[in-house]
């Protein structure tokens, strides 16, 4: 009962703020709305019992990424400059496309997903379990992707520095 209520609250937050985030005229507000969406998503993870994911989401997304966004916004937006609003046509067309997509996917979900009512034991995912899985090379263990990601991260760091540095 409580889970349901929490879910719907989070759902409401996500739905409202994600729409606000893409429609808001001020970009800094959009970023703020995005932050709310990200936090609410983290809440969903918690609700689903993935505490570790919650932590990562909050730390990386809501923490790191958002800071980057804010910086970028502050760097690229001259204060006081008027925000040009997009053409109505553009918005309408995009909206129609998006709604068509929603309708289509909703249709699929409604007709094709079994109405599963799985009650899952809210078993805790221990850090040990995560650690073992992440650093093993057996089946269903993810050392290789993990390493790949780490190389990617390194590449990104170098790339970002190279791109952004002043010549």
């Amino acid at each position: 009962m409580a889970e349901q209520i929490i879910f719907y609250i989070l759902a409401a937050i996500i739905a409202v703020f994600s729409i606000l985030a893409v429609t808001s005229k001020r970009i800094i507000r959009s970023a703020t709305y995005l932050l709310f969406v990200l936090l609410a998503t983290a809440g969903l993870y918690l609700l689903l019992g993935y505490n570790y994911l919650f932590a990562v989401q909050v730390a990386v997304y809501a923490g790191g990424v958002m800071v980057l966004f804010i910086f970028a916004i502050l760097l690229t937006n001259r204060p006081g400059a008027d925000v040009k609003s997009e053409l109505a046509v553009r918005r309408v067309v995009a909206g129609i496309t998006a709604l068509a997509g929603v309708a289509f996917c909703a249709h699929i979900i409604y007709y094709n997903v079994n109405k599963v009512m799985v009650t899952v034991a809210q078993s805790e995912l221990t850090p040990q379990q995560i650690g073992h899985t992440m650093l093993g090379t057996d089946k269903y263990q993810y050392l290789m992707p993990f390493e790949a990601i780490s190389i990617l991260l390194l590449a990104c760091i170098i790339g970002a520095i190279m791109i952004a540095r002043k010549r």
Binding site: T97, A100, G101, F104, I108
Partner: protein, 633 residues
């Protein structure tokens, strides 16, 4: 008779040597070499003639001797070009004619051309010409003849265009080459047709009289004309081109742009009679398989002869007069062949034609060399610039007179005998032909003496410096040729050259002879009255018949017709549009293809706009479409 090969090889070597050393040797050396070589081969030719006519008669018939015959290029199982030497009466006779005239011209040129630039080149070309012409007459097969036929054409081109900085000479050379080349196309196709059916090029087989050679032509015809008539008619076109028969005569008067000795050698004595020689060579075929074509040749010859004689009457350039006279005389030879039958008395025309070829070569070369001597003295070709030269140039005067009498047909000069035989043959063919040819003979006498009197008599023209007789090198050939002209008529020609290669005794047809002599004498008398002293009569006549006169002096506008065809029709209405078509239709369509591709790529380029959101739309719609397809179909 192995040494006959030398007759061909020596001039070729002389050409190569003189051509390669170019101007490294002094002109004297070059001239001497050229003349020496000619002297040697002239001697060899006389030797050949003597040996042939004295030793190769079997049962009263001269046999064919083939000292060399080497396969040069093989086409098919049967068809192959051979290069070789064929000696029979006409080829031996031609050998003598060519080497004699050529030798004379070589000597003459030593004096005439001595101050010209490119003396070595001149002698090289003369050697090339002599080589080619000799190769032509001794050809063992029709394709060898064609080969040398072309070489002769080229040497003629080179020699006409000898003064290559003179535009008129260049144009004349070009014209000569292209007109004869056009005719050669007929020759070539004729050869192709003939050889296809007979499976051989060889004269020996072609003229053997063996009907099996042409068995496959029986009943084959194209457009209602039998295939042999086609072949022989086409071959005659080639001959007509070289021999300047109507309507292909236009190149010959212009060819007088070349040096005068060249005109004497090529455009009077030797090359231009190649057509006659060709017909004579294939005479056995014409008479058997295409008598209709042979009659056509007679009519063409007669018409050309008349036509050229009329024009010659009004020309004022002395070399042009001689050129038209040459055309006219070759017409005579063609008529002689055309009206001839085969064998014995029937073959009188053939014999007469060859005889005329022989004598004409001598006296026409003499005329040209004489004219050259005159031109050398007064530096002009125009009759108006001459007159009264007999005092200054006695040798030229007398030799020219002898030649004029010969060509007019006055006995006992050589022209009388040969022309008279032709006339007899014509009367035997048909009285009309005989009468026509007699009239032409009269015309000939008239215009020749008009020429003679205008040059050597009449009012003296003021000269910058007194004309004088030319040197020894130029006088010697004149005297020699005059001697030959005087006595050649007494050669028993029928014992040497006849259509069936058997002996034939020439009998003078006294009726015909007296008529022709009478006509000639009258014409000479008329010319004497009109031109010996200056008189107003010719001018009056010219104004009376002004239409005819101007038409004749414009050579009946044949050149203009040709010019119209080549310039207006071929150049402007075929070639120009074709060139335009190529650039603007064919090429444009290729460019158009490229253009269309480019246009199309420009159009589809906007798909690649660089606008991420546009891509996103396309991507999304694509995904949606695929998903819809997967789910609902």
């Amino acid at each position: 008779m192995q040494y006959t090969l030398l007759i061909l090889v020596l001039p070729l070597l002389s050409f190569i040597v003189l051509g390669l050393v170019d101007s490294k040797w002094s002109p004297k050396v070059a001239g001497t070499i050229g003349t020496l070589v000619l002297g040697i081969i002239t001697a060899l030719s006389y030797l050949t003639a003597w040996e042939y006519f004295s030793m190769h008669q079997v049962a009263g018939v001269y046999e064919k001797v083939i000292p060399y015959n080497i396969e040069w290029l093989r086409f098919t199982e049967f068809l192959h070009i051979n290069l070789g030497i064929l000696l029979d009466p006409i080829s031996v006779m031609m050998l003598v004619v060519i080497t004699t005239v050529s030798f004379m011209v070589n000597i003459y040129s030593l004096g005439y051309m001595v101050n010209e630039k490119g003396f070595e080149r001149y002698y090289a070309f003369l050697s090339l010409f002599t080589f080619s012409m000799l190769g032509l007459v001794v050809a063992t097969n029709i394709f060898q003849m064609y080969i040398f036929w072309e070489l002769v054409g080229v040497s003629s081109y080179l020699l006409i265009g000898f003064y290559y900085t003179k535009p008129s000479a260049v144009a004349a050379a070009k014209k000569a080459f292209i007109v004869t080349r056009f005719a050669d196309l007929g020759f070539l196709i004729g050869i192709l047709v003939l050889s296809f059916y007979s499976k051989t090029f060889d004269f020996g087989i072609l003229t053997s009289g063996n009907p099996s050679v042409f068995a496959s032509t029986v009943g084959v015809s194209f457009m209602g004309v039998s295939v042999m008539s086609w072949a022989l008619g086409l071959i005659f076109i080639g001959g007509a081109g070289k021999s300047a028969m109507f309507p292909l005569q236009i190149w010959l008067p212009d060819a007088m742009e070349g040096p005068t000795p060249v005109s004497a050698l090529i455009h009077a004595a030797t090359m231009v009679v190649a057509g006659v020689y060709l017909v004579a060579r294939l005479f056995p075929l014409y008479i058997v398989y295409a008598p209709d074509v042979l009659h056509g040749i007679a009519y063409v010859g007669a018409f050309t002869s008349l036509f050229a004689a009329v024009i010659a009457v009004v020309q004022t350039d002395i070399k042009r007069v001689l050129a038209f006279s040459t055309i006219s005389q070759i017409g005579f030879m063609m008529v002689g062949l055309g009206v001839s039958g085969n064998g014995g008395h029937e073959g009188l025309g053939y014999m007469a034609s060859m005889f005329h070829l022989f004598t004409h070569a001598m006296f026409k070369a003499l005329l040209f060399l004489g004219a050259g001597s005159v031109i050398h003295a007064v530096h002009s070709n125009e009759m108006n610039h001459m007159g009264g030269l007999r005092k200054y140039m006695p040798i030229t005067n007398w030799t020219f007179l002898i030649a004029c009498l010969a060509i007019a047909g006055i006995p006992p000069f050589s022209g009388f005998f040969s022309k008279d035989e032709i006339l007899s043959a014509c009367y035997e063919f048909s009285p009309y032909m005989g009468v026509t040819m007699t009239i032409i003979a009269g015309l000939t006498a008239f215009y020749m003496f008009r020429l003679y009197f205008n040059i050597f008599w009449g009012k003296e023209h003021k000269h910058e410096h007194t004309p004088h007789e030319s040197g020894f090198a130029m006088a010697l050939p004149l005297v020699f040729l005059a001697t030959v002209t005087v006595f050649a008529g007494f050669i028993p020609f029928g014992h040497f050259v006849t259509s069936d290669r058997a002996n034939y005794n020439i009998e003078l047809d006294t009726v015909v002879a007296s008529i022709s002599v009478l006509v000639a004498a009258c014409s000479i008398a008329l010319a004497t009255i009109l031109y010996r002293k200056e008189s107003a009569v010719p001018k009056k006549l010219a104004t009376t018949f002004s239409g005819l006169h101007s038409a004749a002096s414009h050579r009946f506008y044949i050149d203009e017709v040709y010019l119209f065809i080549t310039k207006k029709i071929i150049f402007n209405n075929i070639s120009k549009p074709l060139a335009w078509f190529d650039r603007h239709v064919i090429d444009a369509s290729m460019n158009g293809m490229a253009g269309t591709t480019q246009w199309f790529s420009l159009k589809i380029k906007s798909f690649q706009s660089g606008q991420v959101q546009q891509y996103a739309y396309v991507f999304l719609l694509g995904t949606l479409a695929i998903a819809l397809m997967v789910i609902f179909i």
